[in-house]
């Protein structure tokens, strides 16, 4: 039981609108936490605050430094690349990968960033054997070996979503925020990605935090669920507790039915 990510009274105001309103959570490294909520509940804004894309109006964010029991360091005002370097990685709801590059090149970029060799303009990008071995290992782990040299703009949607995950993992994060990993997937692809997430959670040190619309997926993978509604936490607890909570069903049925 170690807290790897913590927010305190996090708030984000866009003019009159309070998109995130005083959210305090603690993410534990022994659990997969799901953050759910109806559309417009503030999930993506919350992620954008955590990853430094947006600056919070108020509140603070801490992240564990280094895997395995480092101290919590404050990342409230850090820029996105600093947050990533500190060990917080994310995948996007709308696929955001390097479309013009091959799968292998995508992962190579992330590894170059992680190894801090991005300013090396003299050696060959493909010349570092240990880097290539790391890439190979990660491709294997995520099941992308067969399509490693395919340009990403020719991949299927499900494959692109997997590249999205491989990219986020390539920087060896402490905490991995997944924004709707099954968005737009067909049922077969959903089954595949869910089993991949389970495998990865077991194999890797990273702590997984997931937002998801698909309730079957949520109940399947989560140890703990946090429900956001109108920017604040409505309920949290184990899937059994939360999903039988009347306020939760009301929030969902009230705005959009699932």
């Amino acid at each position: 039981m170690t807290t790897v990510l913590k927010t305190e009274d996090l708030r984000k105001q866009f003019g009159e609108l309070t998109a995130v309103d005083g959210v305090s959570i603690e993410i534990d490294d022994s659990e997969i936490t799901s953050i759910i909520g109806p559309n417009g509940a503030g999930k993506t804004t919350f992620y954008n605050l955590l990853t430094g894309v947006l600056q919070p109006t108020d509140g603070a964010i801490w992240l564990q430094s280094g895997t395995g029991g480092g101290d919590l360091v404050e990342i409230t005002d850090a820029e996105p690349h600093e947050v990533a370097q500190a060990g917080l990685s994310r995948s996007y709801q709308i696929t955001n990968i390097f479309e013009g590059l091959t799968v292998r090149e995508n992962v190579r970029v992330a590894r170059i960033s992680h190894e801090k060799t991005r300013l090396d303009f003299r050696s060959r990008a493909t010349g570092d054997e240990s880097l290539e071995a790391d890439i190979e290992e990660l491709l294997e782990l995520t099941g992308l070996t067969d399509i490693a040299d395919t340009p990403c703009d020719t991949l299927s949607h499900g494959e692109k979503r997997t590249v999205e995950i491989a990219l986020a993992l390539a920087i060896e994060p402490n905490v991995f925020l997944m924004d709707e990993p099954t968005a737009g997937m067909n049922p077969t692809e959903v089954t595949e990605i869910v089993s991949l997430i389970r495998e990865l959670d077991e194999d890797l040190d990273a702590t997984f935090v997931v937002t998801e619309h698909n309730m079957d997926v949520v109940t399947d993978i989560s140890d703990r669920i946090v429900v956001l509604a109108e920017g604040s936490i409505l309920a949290e607890g184990t899937p059994g507790d939360v999903l039988t909570d009347e306020r939760v069903t009301e929030a969902y049925l009230g705005s959009d039915s699932v």
Binding site: P80, H81, G100, L101, V109, I112, S113, L119, F121, L167
Partner: protein, 382 residues
């Protein structure tokens, strides 16, 4: 010791590759032979080809920022002029000093080399702050701020507040003659200057090729594809763009140094936006998504212009021809001339080795031109 065996191995490997068939090495050897033979061609053709090489390097440096990093600069003329004025001022003000120090025989060569280095240094000194400010902006705003910096340079050169640039007339560049051991040659003689340009441009091109294939260049391509994804992976996008900006300006600066010697003058027009546009046009015509795009584009640009100039009645309208050509390329050949040629080759040879080409950077240009591939503007979805 190991270095010598390495070199020996490389030479043996190269030899094997040349005898092996139509390999890259054999084409390289033929290209080198062509460059040597060209030096014995008609004087004007030598000049035209030298001109092409300089513009090619100009566009190649520009494309490091545009095609590879996704930033469209409309002010690279500033760095083209920076290189030219750097060497011109050294030649004018320090030429006599060098003649005293190293002797008049070799001094033109020494002055030329020092002037080139000064030109390059001047460009870097200018590019550091200009780039730092420019990379704060993206897309059209980046294009506009670089345009503004270019025109700022233009008016500074014309106003000449420091008395260095000689206003609208520019500075005459006289390279002089080298006298060594009784034999003498003029650096600015067409064939001599051609040989010098070939060596410098080839070396610089190789340098750029190394950069785009390095970890640095790989990160550039990622930033072009999606800047916010790159920063979410821990890449300081702004810093990386800044470094690319400086590198790109430096390459353009080398081209500017060569331009001054070729034209025998450093003139304010070099930093005018219409000069910056030459790099843009050459790159678009050639194909920004290919390493060789700007080079091929510069070739097409200069040789079509030369072709038109052979017909005096048409010459007055040569810009009209370019307008039409540009429209055709933008509408029907988004991948430019190189993309069109590769497409043609694939059609002729069958589609199989389409992805085997090392020069290709992206999966664009498959079977039909209709697949949308506006790569350099970035695939940013948000």
């Amino acid at each position: 010791m190991s270095a010598t065996t390495d070199t020996g191995d490389r030479i043996r490997e190269f030899g094997a590759a040349v005898t092996d068939g139509w390999t890259r090495e054999r084409f390289g050897l033929l290209g080198a032979l062509g460059l040597v033979l060209l030096a014995f061609g008609p004087s004007f053709q030598v000049y035209l080809f030298t001109d092409f090489l300089v513009v090619a390097l100009f566009a190649l440096g520009f494309n490091l920022l545009y095609g590879y990093t996704g930033l469209l600069s409309f002010g690279h003329g500033l760095f083209y002029a920076g290189g030219a004025y750097g060497i011109a001022i050294v030649l004018r003000d320090l030429g006599p000093v060098f003649a005293d120090v190293v002797g008049s025989g070799i001094s033109p060569l020494v002055t030329f080399v020092v002037g080139g280095v000064v030109g390059l240094a001047l460009v870097v000194v200018v590019a550091v702050p200009v780039g730092w400010l420019s990379v704060r902006l993206e897309e059209i705003y980046f294009a506009l701020i670089t345009l503004a910096f270019g025109m700022l340079g233009y008016s500074l050169i014309i106003q000449d507040p420091a008395g260095l640039t000689n206003g609208t007339d520019g500075i005459i560049v006289l390279l002089g003659s080298v006298d060594v051991g009784g034999s003498s040659f003029r650096i600015s003689a067409r064939r001599t200057y051609y040989a010098l340009t070939v060596v410098v441009v080839l070396a610089a091109t190789y340098g750029v090729w190394r950069v785009v294939n390095s970890p640095f260049g790989t990160v550039c391509k990622a930033i072009r594809e999606s800047p916010d994804r790159a920063s979410a992976l821990g890449i300081d996008v702004r810093h990386h763009r800044w470094m690319t900006f400086i590198l790109s300006a430096a390459v353009v600066g080398i081209a500017g140094v060569l331009r001054a010697g070729l034209a025998s003058v450093a003139s304010p027009g070099l930093t005018h936006w219409s000069t910056s546009a030459i790099a843009v046009i050459a790159t678009v015509i050639g194909g920004a998504t290919y390493f060789s795009g700007p080079i091929v584009g510069a070739f097409v640009f200069l040789y079509i212009r030369w072709g038109i100039s052979r017909f005096p009645t048409l010459e007055a309208y040569w810009e009209l021809f370019f307008g039409a050509l540009l429209i055709a390329v933008v509408l029907y050949f988004k991948q430019g001339t190189v993309g069109g040629l590769l497409l043609l080759r694939d059609r002729l040879l069958g589609d199989d080795d389409a992805s085997a080409d090392g020069d290709r950077r992206s999966g664009g240009g498959e079977a039909s031109g209709s697949t949308d591939d506006t790569r350099p503007d970035g695939g940013d979805t948000s």
